[in-house]
Symmetry: C4
Subunit: 269 residues, 4 copies
């Protein structure tokens, strides 16, 4: 097998998912990522690290070696290696392996924590695989189509949160935990989104009344993003169905399973 | 009455709900399950167990006897007893009675707690009865039809939660309660789903800023499952209404304004 | 004016809202109820009661006298006084005034608290007035039409909550606040509905994992009631528009403002 | 350039966004407002004020000078200066600069806090700019069209919250933190909107049962505003798409499948 043949064969396996070998590679990679992400999570638990730290470090090193080989192969077989290296997933793949090798030479637990988190970035690859499922497109398109409306909604939310946060800073003041406007705005976000930790909570009657107002605002306007996404999803589902036209009478909006025009009875193409 | 007749008569009463006797049996079983579940819940309350422990034990024993007889009858009259015994509800029915008898011989309060919980499984039977109501099918079908979209949504949620949890672990660190990545991911789930216990909460400014981001993400993307389910339910409700049938080819699901069958072209009545 | 005339005139004013006098009466009653409800709320605040208790008591007594007269007039002018007295609003009207008079003779602050709360029932009258607005019917009908689906949803929620609550009782146990099954079920409701007080929170890793599951379930299935209500509201809004039919070609689904049939051009009736 | 020309030129730049200069002015103002709002937020943080208080004061003073000039120019070039001065944004512009000058003469940190919050009002201008995006109209119209339904929903929510709050006041009482009806109603709002701070939480079994009821009510009826907004947004998105116009009578909003104008019956192009 010539070098060019090897490259294109590898490209098929590693970058595509149409062939059986490509699918097998993707599933194996998927499983390897999930295991290595779980191991990294376990590694961060003090008691587990104390008991099985050496084992975890060894297994994680093995996985990192595997992902390094994968990164090398991707660079090797990509038609334009630089373009891959600078793409989002190219950077993610590099960031997920590089820090491990740097960590071998530079000591310091704090730095190792950051390494661990960079390793977690591999999980983005899982998200990429979800794209193979057809429904992912529908959802992505609905989100893209409604991005401007969602953007305006978020600007309105930000304005409400800054105004009410500032008011609460004046009303409640330092004594009740609203020690600065950023902290009061943080409280307003916690309340408007109905998260409600309770680490900061109003204690004056006026503050509680204003808090009740922002709660009811938050409870009501959650309807806005929901309405936006629902309208988009409803339209795209309907469009998918109605995209056929009758040649005889020109009537459109036929279901995907229709063979004859529902108005004139002519056969549909 | 011959043995076979008795069997098929019992089958009608116990497994079906079309005859008056079958309905009466189902309603009685429903009431018995609700009472025994409530008794089991009361039994777990320390003060009530101290005061009325003997009584509750006796009544619960009576109910267990009743459910044991029911299980025996189901085994007796089912055409294929083994198939029933290995079905989901067959296993639930057995698990709900068996531990009581084992508990009589094996002492230990901890074990008895597990027994109680197994007994709670009976409540699944209540869910089965809900299926008799026609609307349950509509809801079940909408959930089944949207299971892949919901699945992709959950994968995306998991990715967000793992990435943000890992970041918070580095930013906040052990001192502020984010002692490991799994714990930080747990916090991210508590926050994204807007539950917000407040047992772990960010205390550094950067951590609070990132927390605000995940809150607003959680507040906005709740629109996605809602949009998916709403679009499905809207379609199935509309389809239900449009269930016209073609006399020529038997095709159903024609729109309310259709004049010709969309499959064979025959005029619709 | 004859006695019968007076009765029917009073009935028009008190029970109906079509005449100017009837509207004026309703608006006055509305304002009086809001003021008396606010006063009752203020009366329950310790510091305000200490400072202005006598004044509040006097004003509230005046309002109660007013509502007593109103109740008497309703009894007098209703065509069937007993039917009114036994209706939901007849009972509310009586319960809202009666305890005040009983309270004058029976001392004890605890009892007075209950009296205050009964007085709050007057606020139901406000809800009754909201019915005059046409949109209230649309909402009420959508809720009534979807009551069975919502019922099945609540049964499913109850089953999930009981099963997960029971599991948490076994997993977390008494030491972590899950002291009984009812308490664990209460925690499960607090978590599933995304309220999340944080007074009871899981502390074992398995408990937190199960809690994460119920949170994501709660975050996802909130889509179900939303989808049900949205589908109903969408249909009723559409039906309102599409209830007109063309006499010439039989085409329906014309907008409310259409003068001609959109298919054949004939004038619509 | 004559005085009138200068005025109309300035008006174009400051009040409109159609010319390149007008757009540049709007974007600059937008950036200046965001920076000054962020600075004001930082100024309220104790540690930052201690370290860089003088610098922040100076920079903020510079921005206030800038906004004062802007306010003066708006007054100068507006065709009806008084009408601008009394408009919502005229008042906001004045309130955002005036207190700074008053603060120079009147000492007292408490007063300065209020000044800071008034300065935050500038953020409303950001909201005004969002209106230039076409989608903002769609959202605004959907909210306006559903304001009566949302109003009725809020009246129903208020009634539920007052009734359940009052009941909890009697059930839980002073000892468990439900010290007055307003406080109990505040708790009911915190719970119904699923915020759930946990600063007040029921501790008696009956109180917890009632709390579970209000949680499930809150979890279910969030579907109502969502359904209302979704139905409105769905209709307005569909209408936007169907905006065909009749050449004969000028009527628009014909469905995609209309052949004749629904108002005058003329054939549509």
């Amino acid at each position: 097998m010539s070098d060019q043949n090897l490259k294109s064969r590898l490209y098929e396996i590693i970058f595509e998912a149409d062939t059986p070998a490509g699918k097998l590679f993707d599933v194996s990679l998927f499983v390897a990522i999930l295991i290595s992400v779980c191991l990294t999570m376990l590694q961060s638990v003090g008691s587990i690290r104390a008991a099985h730290g050496g084992l975890l470090f060894a297994v994680n090193g093995g996985f990192t070696l595997l992902f390094t080989i994968e990164y090398g192969l991707r660079l090797y077989c990509a038609p334009k290696p630089l373009r891959y290296a600078r793409s989002f997933f190219g950077v993610v793949d590099l960031l997920a392996v590089l820090p491990f090798y740097i960590g071998l030479f530079i000591p310091g637990t704090r730095f190792l924590d950051v390494v661990k988190v960079l390793r977690m970035l591999r999980i983005f690859r899982v998200l990429k695989m979800a794209q193979y499922v057809g429904e992912a497109d529908l959802l992505k398109n609905a989100l893209i189509a409604s991005r401007r409306k969602i953007g305006i909604f978020l600007v309105a939310v930000m304005t409400i949160v800054v105004i009410i946060g500032s008011l609460m800073y004046v009303i409640e003041g330092d004594a009740n935990g609203f020690s600065s406007i950023p902290r009061a705005v943080y409280w307003a976000i916690v309340t408007l989104t109905t998260v409600g930790y309770g680490d900061i909570a109003p204690s004056t009657p006026i503050g509680q009344a204003l808090a009740a107002v922002i709660m009811i605002i938050g409870y009501s306007i959650i309807a806005v993003p929901t309405g936006i996404i629902t309208a988009e999803l409803g339209l795209s589902t309907a469009q998918e169905r109605n995209a056929r036209k009758c040649d005889a009478c020109g009537h459109h909006q036929h279901d995907a399973d229709a063979v004859h025009c529902k108005r004139c009875g002519a056969a549909l193409s």
